[in-house]
Symmetry: C2
Subunit: 650 residues, 2 copies
Amino acid sequence: MMEDGRRRVVVDAVRPQIDGGQFAIKRIIGDELAIEADVFADGHDEIVCVLQHRHGDGPWQEQPMRPSWNDLWLASIRLEKFGTYEYRIVSWVDHFHTWRHDLRKRADAGQNLDVDLQIGAKIIEGAVSRASGEDAKAIRNFADRIVGGTGTASKPFVDQSIGYAAAMDDALLSLMDRNADRSLATISKSYPVAVEDVRAAFSSWYELFPRSYGGAPNKHGTFRDVIAHLPYVESMGFDVIYMPPIHPIGTAFRKGKNNQTTAQPDDVGSPWAIGGKAGGHKAILPELGTLADFHALVAAAKERGMEIALDIAFQCSPDHPYVKEHPAWFKHRPDGTIQYAENPPKKYQDIYPFDFECSDWRALWEELKSVFVYWIEQGVRIFRVDNPHTKAFSFWQWCLAEVKKVRPDTIFLSEAFTRPKIMYRLAKLGYTQSYTYFTWRNTKQELTEYFRELSSHPLTDIFRPNIWPNTPDILHEFLHAGRPAFIARIVLAATLGANFGIYGAAFELMENTPREPGSEEYLHSEKYELKQWDVNRADSLRELIAKLNGIRKAHPALQRNTPVEFHKVESDHLLAYSKVSADGADRVLTVVNLDPRAAHAGWLELPEAWINDGKCEAHDLLTEKNFAWEGSRALIELDPQTTVAHVFTK
Amino acid sequence: MMEDGRRRVVVDAVRPQIDGGQFAIKRIIGDELAIEADVFADGHDEIVCVLQHRHGDGPWQEQPMRPSWNDLWLASIRLEKFGTYEYRIVSWVDHFHTWRHDLRKRADAGQNLDVDLQIGAKIIEGAVSRASGEDAKAIRNFADRIVGGTGTASKPFVDQSIGYAAAMDDALLSLMDRNADRSLATISKSYPVAVEDVRAAFSSWYELFPRSYGGAPNKHGTFRDVIAHLPYVESMGFDVIYMPPIHPIGTAFRKGKNNQTTAQPDDVGSPWAIGGKAGGHKAILPELGTLADFHALVAAAKERGMEIALDIAFQCSPDHPYVKEHPAWFKHRPDGTIQYAENPPKKYQDIYPFDFECSDWRALWEELKSVFVYWIEQGVRIFRVDNPHTKAFSFWQWCLAEVKKVRPDTIFLSEAFTRPKIMYRLAKLGYTQSYTYFTWRNTKQELTEYFRELSSHPLTDIFRPNIWPNTPDILHEFLHAGRPAFIARIVLAATLGANFGIYGAAFELMENTPREPGSEEYLHSEKYELKQWDVNRADSLRELIAKLNGIRKAHPALQRNTPVEFHKVESDHLLAYSKVSADGADRVLTVVNLDPRAAHAGWLELPEAWINDGKCEAHDLLTEKNFAWEGSRALIELDPQTTVAHVFTK
């Protein structure tokens, strides 16, 4: 038999929550978190239900929940601090409330209240021992008034109306609520809520390789060069500048240009082959500059309202100091060598993965955590994490939480291009944002299905997509079609994703030559060599990008991922969708021609909210033209040579 | 940091389950339970995943799960015993599987396998210490063969193909699977499954008041009279005969005919006012007979393939022995009286409810449980429980589980006509079946919405509706329309609900006179007086009911609640739905005219499965007429005066 079978209230279906409270739902600072639950007891007694919440290990704060229909109870919390909140629901059968409620009905029916007033006085007296001095006195006073001032329950009343008036006194209700009998209260599990920075939910990323900004052929770029380049990035409206790993690059098994297995002496290597004589994950490649230069870059970006994001890739080149200092963190082969990365029969001898099953795993975890902490100490709080899905999930769950204890507004972008359930798991474990399959979703059906999935429950509470039309690893063949394809993809990315990013300057300069036919690798990939980008080229998409980022900043509807509604257009090549701000005041309707090679036209079924008195007027933020349509449909014509997309506002 | 962070496998979204395993899903003996889960690890290593299950506290049995697409793993269990099973999933990264898989790829690519065979031999040797004598020897032998028979890992191989052949040997695979390294296995929660009798899911109930079968006016019927009446009930095809409480009835505050507050000396009282001089919940009202008579009734029913269901109403008349023997189980009023049932300002002074918050609750629980156990000992295992929603939920959760320990195939029908979430909660707590809102769902929209809700997840795993067109408490005004209304409602009940029941003989004799206009109570309700039923009346629905029960027995499609698909008919008064058996072989399509006062016709969109070569042929099991339609639609015409409904089979 259970410990106390007299707890009569059931608290069920508490929401929002993920996996019964195993993981935190995600919210943004300043959000109002609406909480609901099914709460009920057996029988007809009244229940009281309160919501409790706390930040971190702080004290619980309490507020009443209000009943809605069908046993649903509601309350909300304003989330005012970064970090983890938790909330829980407490409810109990309240005999005072029940008695008071029934007494009113009895009185209304003209019944004799003698015995009922005595019952009430007893319930009220029960609160005396739970109350503090002042309250106790006041409560006892009420109990006395209710039984007619006699102080004894057996003496007949002079006038029931005195007792009834006392029973109905609001002051008594407050006193009793403050000192309610919670001895048989039901307390729900507590459910965590991760409160993150606004930029976790709305950000525009620009990826660049600092070493390519030296300004002359074969001149290795530095952090100082990036500082000089900041006005350019700022002019396009980005707020996060993400750089591939900035650490010393190994020389053993270094990859040459175009990922050749043998490097030439002047080959700079891949930034992801981390670790060399100059150090490992906490060191800077000397060619990029000093720690002071890095600090200067962080500060210069900050002055312009931008932030530097670092790439954390937990793997080592054979030259990484860890290899000698912590051999236990790697797998050893019977021939005495260390196990390099493999995908049999392929071998990646320039990369040593960590062995997350090693017996020294605790020290490994601590050290990896300390990498984040080190860079946080250098002023960074946004990290793009390379291949998190090849490291133990339990490590991430621990590590992300530990790092957030140091800096609760840290943002982690998961670069897990893997199976969907693994991507979603990483989001549950604490990743703030995630790359997506967007790059490979190009048709109307693919895009519609995928963004419907991403905006479905429970993903909306945990998984924040960061939408990239290109990355240094992914040049999709769709972009082979050139300018109209690049425009379509960035309009989609910038309007479908509250978080989006591009790999520049490859994107705005429409770089689209594959290493070989069928490859998603770039020819002369920046991953293996210094590049020079002519960012002032006349055909650059720089201005379009600036316009899109401007639209995003001006339109709250684009600053969140959901709701997104897809609208019917009578063309397989035209994709239309609309978004709305939380307050309903801002609405953006985007229509994109997904075929970069041909013009298409089709009737669009306009969203109802856009139609007033049978008319719809809209302003295209891209072309700055006005449109007016009669009825509920609009004929949309998009020619990739002139207009790839409309981004309408009302 | 967690206890062992090296457990790399995630087992997620295990299903079917209810509330994370807090409650049991319900199944029927003989069912094949299909189980699935999302199981994956970081990286690219192979995982092994097994399903374990056990009955009660028995030993765990294990079987492999098989991977499907998208990280989904599948297995199923045959449920062969009554009672509670539990199942869980165990999965681990398997280094032997990974090594073997990779080795094949390396060999296929023509790589040198020296070091890899040494690695494998080490993995295999690791299994020796986990294995029993025979296996250990065989495993060591394989390890030796893999490293070329030299027994040392450092000596170069003579011939790699010997080691490779040994590595690929299926016997080695079996040995390694049997002795796998599970030290870092992930074990899921365990999830309970309640396995119940077939009658839990498919039953036809007939309610009767034994006292009305005395055969003469004012002659109190007995169990012996019911025995004589069994052939009649059997002839209609029912398998459960449910009797209102059979215990002594209190005389204090006894209700008179038509629920009058004052009883006449010859009034028999309500069977739900339980307890008198002759005893309480374990006694029999002397007028009904002896315990031996009751045993005879149970046996006589059984002989005819029927079962007796008792009504358990946990409440007491003021004359119940408990009132004196266990005053602590009741609430006491300051005037020294015991608190009677109330719904202020209404008073039910003939009923004392138990106080589930009393300090003696443990003894109360044990006693109430013993009531079920007592009647189980008398041969009963089906109980209709009166107003369970006015007793503590925690009590039911404990009590139903305890009773099932005594008799695991016990069936509990919950008579909780209350809010939906409470009804569903009682189902989670262990109630086998539940009354529903069916009686108040009469229009096409109401019926469609309600049965869609009842056949939705997760209700299908826990909540089994028992569909009643009438009860002694509910005479819905729909039935005021007489015969066509009665026919429509019983066809609906018998074909929508795998479990259904009627209150007879009121139903087949179409009793429909309300106590007063607007009342759902019967005039001269059998609850308060002896009735005489002329069951041989020519207009009785007896034959229709017999036909419906015959159809139900012949058609597996009607022996389960889901799936039920509603079909489009161009009439607001015609409701059409179809069901199919688990094997797809049996299909039943029902069309009912919901308007008892007028004929209606409409085009029915035939279910696709019913159309062959553009034609549909169907046999109406009610009229025994054949129908044939061309195309995908059928014109249905139903005149309540002649044909209220069709129940088609293919």
